[in-house]
């Protein structure tokens, strides 16, 4: 805007002090954990903790694969989040296209059905969901871990809103050229919706990576543990190994942090719309 802020100097100082201190409080726990994960154990459990490690060491990280199968946990998390995100990206786009551009009887009812449970958290209906998984024989399987995560009300809603703004003329032109609907979807709708699809996919990736209560009840052997579960068990078993726990925390946080810093604006846009819930 180029307009001067019109603040006096004390106002200016007060404003930046407020923003600086509050944002520092928000990230201080991460900084502390990050620095601590590079300290030797004698520097961690001490009466006089220092901010920076006296000696930087990787021992906390290097011992992790020896005490628990963290590589496996990590790959499991990638599998669960990855499969879920593929389903959500494709399903939201296709379903959003149908709701945005097709007129058929029952459309409003079906749309209502899709978004009716948007505000109901998983925790409230987790008992029947677990029983369903149990009846299917999917307790402690990857299918069981993934299947409640392959649909997303807010994803369909978000893509519908975006696809509605694609001009009908573009779609009709493709149809006149004799393209099938799959072809229209593939060559008109998808290329024009990449940005919202990316936003939804990233938000879903972060959501599924962080989900805890569902893996907690469905995965009951370590080879099916996700990173969150593995971290929780490690923390319970090795309660005094602060260095190891902090290193494991950093590894769990890192994929989300990297994704966040890479796609900051998309994530913020997606989260502001979806609230990051299914």
């Amino acid at each position: 805007m180029g307009r001067k802020s019109g603040r006096t100097l004390p106002e200016q100082v007060g404003l930046y002090l407020f923003l600086g201190i509050t944002s520092l409080i928000m990230v201080a726990p991460f900084l502390w954990v990050f620095l601590t994960s590079f300290k030797r154990s004698t520097e961690i459990v001490t009466e006089t903790p220092q901010l920076l490690p006296l000696v930087w060491t990787l021992e906390n990280y290097l011992k992790l694969p020896k005490v628990a199968p963290f590589v496996r946990f990590f790959l499991n998390s990638i599998l669960v989040s990855g499969v879920s995100t593929l389903f959500i990206a494709f399903g939201s786009a296709a379903c959003g296209y149908v709701f945005a551009k097709y007129r058929f009887r029952g459309r409003n009812f079906l749309f209502f059905l899709v978004i009716s449970t948007i505000l109901i958290p998983l925790q409230t209906y987790i008992v029947p969901l677990y029983l369903l998984t149990w009846k299917l024989g999917w307790i402690n399987t990857y299918q069981g871990l993934i299947f409640p995560l392959i649909i997303m009300s807010s994803g369909i809603f978000f893509l519908r809103q975006n696809i509605m703004s694609i001009p009908d003329e573009l779609i009709d032109a493709a149809r006149v050229d004799g393209a099938s609907e799959w072809r229209v979807f593939h060559s008109v709708i998808l290329p024009l919706s990449l940005s919202p699809i990316a936003a939804i996919s990233i938000v879903n990736w972060v959501y599924t990576w962080s989900l805890f209560i569902w893996p907690l009840i469905v995965a009951n052997s370590t080879e099916k543990f996700t990173m969150e579960l593995g971290l929780m068990y490690f923390q319970r078993e090795y309660a005094v190994d602060y260095g190891g726990i902090m290193a494991a925390c950093v590894i769990t946080l890192l994929p989300v942090l990297v994704v966040f810093l890479m796609f900051r604006t998309r994530i913020i846009e997606g989260v502001a719309f979806t609230g990051m819930k299914h």
């Binding site: 307009r3 009466e47 296709a94 551009k101 925790q123 008992v127 009840i217 769990t252």
Partner: protein
């Protein structure tokens, strides 16, 4: 929007192949479980017991005599009553200050938002360590440095619950900052300038122009905050685990009760009754908020 009058065969084929599985999935893994949990709350269903009886009211009368449930209900209520106002007020404050043409705005935005995006398990473990007893915990160490008495973060029940609520607020705050900031940016600058020209102070502009126009976003924020506070689980679960924590039973909330009854004792019917209550109270709160906001703006 112009729409197709009659669907061609190709379109019908596409429609069916997309909608059938998606709608079926929504019914099977969203709608039905919600209905089933309501029905199950009137039974004594237990995974280890084949006989199922219909209990018209017993589960619900039992809830009121169950000290664990009463504790959880009171704690969850406190959770909502503390977390929601703090999140909304702090979220508004941060957003309003960030919106005042500050330099490095996106940096501050990112820092505020960071806790919201990271998983709760490592975040709660980090906080648990900050709250650790003695001077091993950062919180007490800082109190020592400032010459203040140490606090039994995880050994005094009242404080433990507030400490957990603190984690929850710290974690969710970024979401509210973001939605309020988006809302503020959607208010045309001319509104603010008109008020400033008329001699209004900054604070008056905030109170008389920005907050009233932000009302729909605030309502949305309050609804989300309420639902999330009622359904808090991970932070409480992580906090109440481990040998050094003596307050596990005192800080339990509604969802940790559902988890314990349903998945530790397999009393699925009774766990469903707790879900039913959780469902009803969160709906009540949400309805109440809609009413309050409508009356205020009328």
């Amino acid at each position: 929007m112009r729409t197709v009058e009659r669907l061609t065969r190709s379109q019908l084929g596409f429609l069916w192949s997309i909608m059938m599985p998606v709608i079926a999935l929504f019914i099977i893994i969203r709608v039905l479980p919600v209905l089933v949990v309501l029905l199950m709350s009137f039974t004594n269903y237990n995974m280890n017991r084949p006989l199922v009886r219909f209990l018209p009211y017993q589960n619900f009368t039992r809830l009121f005599g169950d000290p664990n449930f009463v504790t959880a209900f009171v704690n969850s209520t406190e959770f909502v009553l503390v977390a929601v106002p703090v999140e909304i007020v702090l979220g508004l404050a941060f957003a309003i200050y960030l919106n005042r043409k500050v330099r490095f705005e996106s940096l501050f935005e990112t820092l505020y938002f960071l806790p919201y995006i990271v998983p709760m398990v490592p975040a709660a473990i980090i906080w648990k360590w900050i709250y650790a007893p003695g001077t091993y915990g950062l919180a007490n160490y800082l109190l020592d440095l400032m010459g203040l008495p140490r606090v039994g973060w995880m050994s005094t029940p009242q404080i433990s619950l507030l400490a957990v609520i603190g984690i929850h607020v710290w974690k969710q705050l970024g979401f509210f900052v973001i939605i309020f900031l988006v809302g503020l940016k959607n208010i045309p600058a001319s509104y603010r300038e008109a008020a400033l020209v008329d001699g209004a102070t900054r604070w008056q502009v905030t109170r008389r122009v920005e907050i009233p126009l932000l009302k729909p976003v605030i309502l949305f924020g309050v609804v989300m905050a309420t639902i999330w506070a009622w359904s808090a689980f991970t932070e409480v679960y992580i906090m109440s685990q481990g040998t050094d924590i003596s307050t596990g039973a005192e800080i339990q909330v509604m969802v940790t009760r559902i988890y314990a009854e349903g998945f530790l004792y397999f009393n699925m019917g009774y766990a469903s009754a707790i879900s039913f209550v959780l469902f009803v109270v969160s709906l009540l709160f949400v309805g109440l908020q809609f009413r309050l906001f409508r009356e205020r703006s009328a």
